[in-house]
Symmetry: C2
Amino acid sequence: MNEEKKELNMEIEQIAEQVPEYISERKYAELKDILIEMNPADIGDLMEELPHQSLPVVYRLLPKELAAEVFVYIDPDTQEQLIKTFSDSELKEVIDELYVDDTVDLIEEMPASVVKRILKHTDKDMREEINRILKYPKDSAGSVMTTEYVDLKKNLTVEDAFLRIRRTAVDKETIYTCYVTDENRKLIGLVTVKDLLLSDYSEKISDIMETNIIYVNTTDDQEYVANMFTKYDFSTIPVVDAEERLVGIVTFDDAMDVLLDETTEDIEKMAAISQTDNEKPYLKMSAFELWKKRIPWLLLLMISATFTGMIISSFEEALSSFVVLTSFIPMLMDTGGNTGSQSSVTIIRSISLGDIEFKNLPAVIWKEIRVAVLCGVTLAITNFAKLMIVDKLIFGNDQITASVAFVVCSTLVMTVLCAKVIGCTLPMLAKKIGFDPAVMASPFITTIVDAVSLVVYFRIATACLHIG
Amino acid sequence: MNEEKKELNMEIEQIAEQVPEYISERKYAELKDILIEMNPADIGDLMEELPHQSLPVVYRLLPKELAAEVFVYIDPDTQEQLIKTFSDSELKEVIDELYVDDTVDLIEEMPASVVKRILKHTDKDMREEINRILKYPKDSAGSVMTTEYVDLKKNLTVEDAFLRIRRTAVDKETIYTCYVTDENRKLIGLVTVKDLLLSDYSEKISDIMETNIIYVNTTDDQEYVANMFTKYDFSTIPVVDAEERLVGIVTFDDAMDVLLDETTEDIEKMAAISQTDNEKPYLKMSAFELWKKRIPWLLLLMISATFTGMIISSFEEALSSFVVLTSFIPMLMDTGGNTGSQSSVTIIRSISLGDIEFKNLPAVIWKEIRVAVLCGVTLAITNFAKLMIVDKLIFGNDQITASVAFVVCSTLVMTVLCAKVIGCTLPMLAKKIGFDPAVMASPFITTIVDAVSLVVYFRIATACLHIG
């Protein structure tokens, strides 16, 4: 780990250890001095390390504005603990300082009783905003947007615009991109504060605004929105409704969070882990919750693996006359699984980065075939040499003949070929028919490739070794 | 795929198809009108779809500033093609418009002859900047930073600050966070344009600046820097040298790119794919380049899998008296591999998100043991029921006795237990001793778990079935 990060964590842990002492000795002023020097995110980390009974004391030491910032960075469990200790007026103070999107996040995480208390302390306008955002489908642009942006009219001057920004900036999450709307709230342009700073005070917004705007719809998937950020390097993106009226903005920090969450989800799917409604950091999950995430695929894959067993049973005869053939099963299965997952994982990642589309399927298959031949031949030659030189010559294993080595090595080539073609095709087909390609990763591919490679193995063996 | 995204791509493809026509009919004005309505990133995509001979024509139609923006979005191959067609003055125009960090990226990608031409057309100051950034280690904060930020002095007034920002903004990648340095260039504070807009013109910078600054060092790893962005929601982060002097800033868009690249790297490592120096999108890689990325681990894992074969050979006697045992090998191996990789992938991701540290090892192992017992017992019960009811009763497979089912199911429980403990421990140990935990993922774990589960299987079988 990075030294500096370690130091930072160490410091937070050290402070966390000392906090109870400060509290019991009533050294509140000293503790406050330490806290206000810290970054809100770090205070958030600190709060999570503290015993529950110290939470309210520490939180009340924070100046109002800092307290609200810190609140956003602490995890839902701790938030809930804190809210329970809040008086009504304290709760109102916190809620007043939060941005709308953070309030929505909070409401989504809290149990009903807490939500009721929160809604009681929001004013009517805020409540309307919250309800509007809550109505958007989960994981949609509408559900991650904030409604606190700066909007301008096109016939304002730059000077007017600055006045408006100054007047409203305090409540806005970001002010650096301002959106221009017409009388029907339709989005018609954008200006950045940089544009404004570089223009004369007397210029009209309509003359300096950018009219070629990239925007998303409230119903667009959040992953699509996040990908827009990485493609266009935006710091905010406007969200419009079905009538092209501006209803909110998504900021880059929320997009980054989406990107991280979606990637974690993809990685988990690739490792045969199911998604549950309530995704928490590992250490916060109970063994039972982890079991729920892991058992569905394990059961399914265990059942499907029994087909592989049936293939082995049906070639029992071949196996009993050439027992040495059994000992190559793990190597063939593992190599098939590994080569298949290399292809599927590469393709899944390329799909999610937007590098590959369905129309590329022929090109992808052709490339994978060539890679498979290269890999298969390399592996086969290495294995043939190992069998004939190490196993037969050096260790004197008489069961290994040139024919057996030939059977194993030609199976290797065929297995690698099948594995790579299956590995690249299945995720692309899944995507095409609307499934998540990430599910078509290693474990699933491995099960199919296992069966295929065993059939190939026994067929080649039966033909070459004159069995049966 | 998202409908809108599809449309956007369709549009770009359609335009790409029409471009040669526009050119052959010399409809340059019409083509230019289409282009200037597009976003630079989309023009970049368009250029990659075009035949090489149309590139210079299209590029020359773009207004100077837009041309430079587009240049940043096209891939290195196309950039190289373009530069070869540039006259010296055209090259100079492009370089003059690029930000320093983009020029550095370009230099790192181009062959020596092109680099020479580029450096010839940069002025002395720029060349010094470039050389300074090039000297930082690969993947360090220094190598991804830009040196074009706004710096202020603490005794300026807000009005002075605005003047300075207006005067220098054109050349800066971002102006919204300004850094305050002392006479020795040491970083002493920061102010945002929002702070400036909310303050009186007569206020001193020293009175409104934030002095508690989070920064990174030039030598910090880029992944660490990117994680700072996701933790603190910064839009820029200052980079200081060993003497704490401000030397540059990293912007959120570069941090997002780093995050994506590092995640792809992790995912590839988890799928036994090696990293090469030159990482390109899948479709741009030759079969040979893909082979180079995939073959090292395949060879290593193939060789290690032969040990699993040796275990089978050494229990040949048991297998020949109970041939049915062989048919459960794939299911046991696959289940072991799947449960192991669920644990290892979860732990690897949690480490890279900073959710888990080495000190959590006992907690992690204890949690995995409980999950393993839950999963193992569920799988064993299901499997026992399947063996006794489906295989024995319904299909009348006589080889399956209660003892055989017991052997298989108790092996399952032991395998899951070993797989989960190995799967969670190895990545954390790897991290501790300075290796990349991502390498300890599925394929590696599978190979170890295979061997362990077979030994357990045969030992239990020998003991329970009175073999030998």
